[in-house]
Symmetry: C2
Subunit: 94 residues, 2 copies
DNA sequence: ACTCGATATCGATATCTATCAATGTTTGTG
DNA sequence: CACAAACATTGATAGATATCGATATCGAGT
């Protein structure tokens, strides 16, 4: 694996290598319609709103979540295939 | 996903969420006999021996690598199934 | 236009992390 | 036993990160 490829992948793995962000991804994927807004996510995580927004931004910047603003609410959903790419990397190194 | 489970998984994801450690796993898995000693890993990574030992320890502590001392050399290999578990977690959240 | 509610951004801080130089430990060899 | 090689550990430091409080932005309704 090239250093460049490793750096690229590590950015995505870093994004999910946090307990609260893992729970965010899990909560969103199991939400109704596979999307959720920030207000639905602060309470189950026990974190403040700015902190949740911060984590969501990291996941969006890493290409793992998609953000769609509808009215006052921001809806977050999984980017199709993003996690599969990471899963494949791990599966290939068995 | 429970907070405890998320914390447990995040420790393993943190272990591989580093470009040098991703390359270590890749190098080891593609090595002859699927194992490598520290002396084989410092040069391709361009890191010092203590730094490589540090990264390997993190991967061992996370349950991703196995360490076997034979003579003066320490041979590192993948723990069977460890990466598959992580891959499955990602696949389940599609 | 004004206000309110939802979300994002900013600033600060405490904690963690990666790296290296130096040193310690262990194993094989003469 | 002394020495050398492979590896681990320690100490120090610079950089990254998580969290929070305060503030800014943005859209909806009155």
């Amino acid at each position: 694996m090239s250093a460049a490829r490793a750096l690229e992948l590590s950015k995505q793995f870093k994004a999910i290598a946090d307990p609260n962000r893992l729970r965010l991804v899990s909560l969103i994927s199991s939400s109704d319609g596979s999307e959720a807004c920030v207000c639905d996510l602060t309470e189950p995580l026990g974190l403040g709103q700015p902190t949740v927004s911060h984590h969501l931004k990291i996941l969006v910047d890493a290409g793992i979540l998609h953000r769609e603003k509808r009215g006052v609410w921001a809806y977050y959903s999984l980017v199709p295939g993003a996690l599969n790419t990471l899963a494949d990397v791990l599966s290939e190194s068995r």
